[in-house]
Amino acid sequence: MSAAIITKVDERIAFYEVPAGKKAIVAVTGLVLIGYVVAHMLGNLQIFLGRERINAYAELLHSSGPLLWAARLVLLVAVGLHIVFTVQLWLAKRRARPVRYLKKVDVPSAYAARTMILSGPLIAAFVIFHVLHLTTGQAGLPFEPLNVYDNVVRGFRIWYVSLAYMVAVSLVGVHVWHGLWSMLHTLGLDDERYRPTLERISHAVGLLTALGYLSIPVAVLTGLIGGGVN
């Protein structure tokens, strides 16, 4: 029986059919998304430099036409592949242990690692709301095209908008906390010697990204920015 199973082995099983290959695709698309999340955070922080600066930045992005759409396309493809392959892996994982343990200790308790499948969909749901709120203006919240500063300030003055945003960016931080190091590991860039360093970098990027994004609703709610907006 075992011989029959061995003859089935075929090293030409497509890359995307093997867990390691699927994970590699998730890792590369994850890298694209981490790059975007960090860049977007740095862009957003220009709100602290005043209305003219952030609105000029928005105008610059919107005037880049095809480039903007190319970037959006890359991000959409990355998000799509990231979701499709993680869902496939998650379904396969559920099949891999049909009988569950009555008692199971999670050692070490890798909270961020085991909640990736929860933080992911929540972030995705938030991104849809976020685009409707601040890109297309269809979320039923105050919106003026290209007046990012006022849109953000007016939006974040609504407590539940701020709360949703703060929860979502915290989840992004948790996702990156595990995701960045995990991605490097999946792509084979890990070694016992520099694993602690890579993990620390991953945690730091996750934490700093979340703090960067959190600073904006906090600044609006405390009146630090947006004083002239009514």
């Binding site: 090293e11 099983i13 890359f15 093997v18 390691a20 995990s182 084979g188």
Partner: protein, 259 residues
């Protein structure tokens, strides 16, 4: 010592199983965990009951035969220890312990705490070897091996194939076992000619066997009785990616009539 056990009893794969409570009195703290089960089994036999089935062989922590879950941890609470080398002195009088078999689709249950780990044999048969005529043992240092490679290969070769990594993994992934074999052979000069074929074959076989994927949670590393490091998985991933790219190149060359 007195120990209370809740043991998974299941006659065979087709009948349903359940937890059964046993009390073991007069446990000597110097007994190994398996010796404690031997004592319980003798009592069960005397009472005309079926003894608890569990795998074991060398009982010195080097064969990889034994292993089950104790309170939700493969091989129990002591790090770097197989269940046969786990001694009762690590428990307290009156402790209540839950024993369950390793759970994974790729490890079908045979009876009680015994599971079929032939899937590991098939992974090895798929590529975990070196195809050369062995002959007599070569002279020491006839093939120079860098110190670093020798150390890492030796650490990976410590894997005894017990399956604790699969049992503990939240995804029932065999990544640590595969990584250990691929690192062990792939780090040494003798393993180079088949290095990339090996990783393609073994990783493909693991997918066919129904093992899950690696989410880098690190639970396998924490329970491995031989302390295999997570880095072997990164090495396997690296070799797999290189192999996949090389393989694409080879396939295209053959199709174009070059190869």
């Amino acid at each position: 010592m007195r120990i209370i056990l809740h043991v998974w009893r299941q006659k065979n794969a087709s009948e349903p199983g359940r937890m059964v409570r046993y009390e073991v009195n007069n446990v000597n703290p110097h007994m190994s965990f398996l010796e404690m089960l031997d004592v319980l089994n003798e009592e069960l036999v005397q009472q005309g009951e079926d003894p608890i089935a569990f795998d074991h062989d060398c009982r010195e922590g080097i064969c990889g035969m034994c292993g089950f879950m104790i309170n939700g941890r493969a091989h129990g609470p002591e790090p770097g220890t197989t269940v046969c080398q786990l001694h009762m002195r690590h428990f307290r009088d009156g402790d209540e312990l839950w024993l369950e078999p390793f759970r994974a689709r790729a490890f079908p249950l045979i009876r009680d705490l015994v599971v079929n780990r032939s899937a590991f044999d098939r992974l090895i048969a798929a590529g975990g070897y070196i195809s050369v005529n062995a002959g007599s043992a070569p002279d020491a240092n006839a093939i120079p091996v860098p110190k670093q490679a020798a150390e890492k290969a030796m650490d990976a070769a410590a894997c005894i194939g017990c399956g604790a990594c699969v049992a503990q993994c939240p995804n029932a992934s065999a990544a640590l076992f595969l990584g250990a074999k691929i690192s062990h052979l792939g780090l040494l000069p003798q393993g180079q000619p088949e290095r990339y074929q090996r990783v393609l074959k073994m990783v493909s076989q693991a997918a066919l066997e129904g093992f899950g994927h690696c989410t880098n949670a690190g639970e396998c590393e924490a329970v491995c009785p031989k302390r295999i490091k997570l880095e072997v998985i990164a090495r396997m991933n690296r070799d797999y990616l290189v192999a996949a790219v090389k393989h694409l190149g080879v396939k295209e060359a053959v199709e174009a009539g070059v190869g």
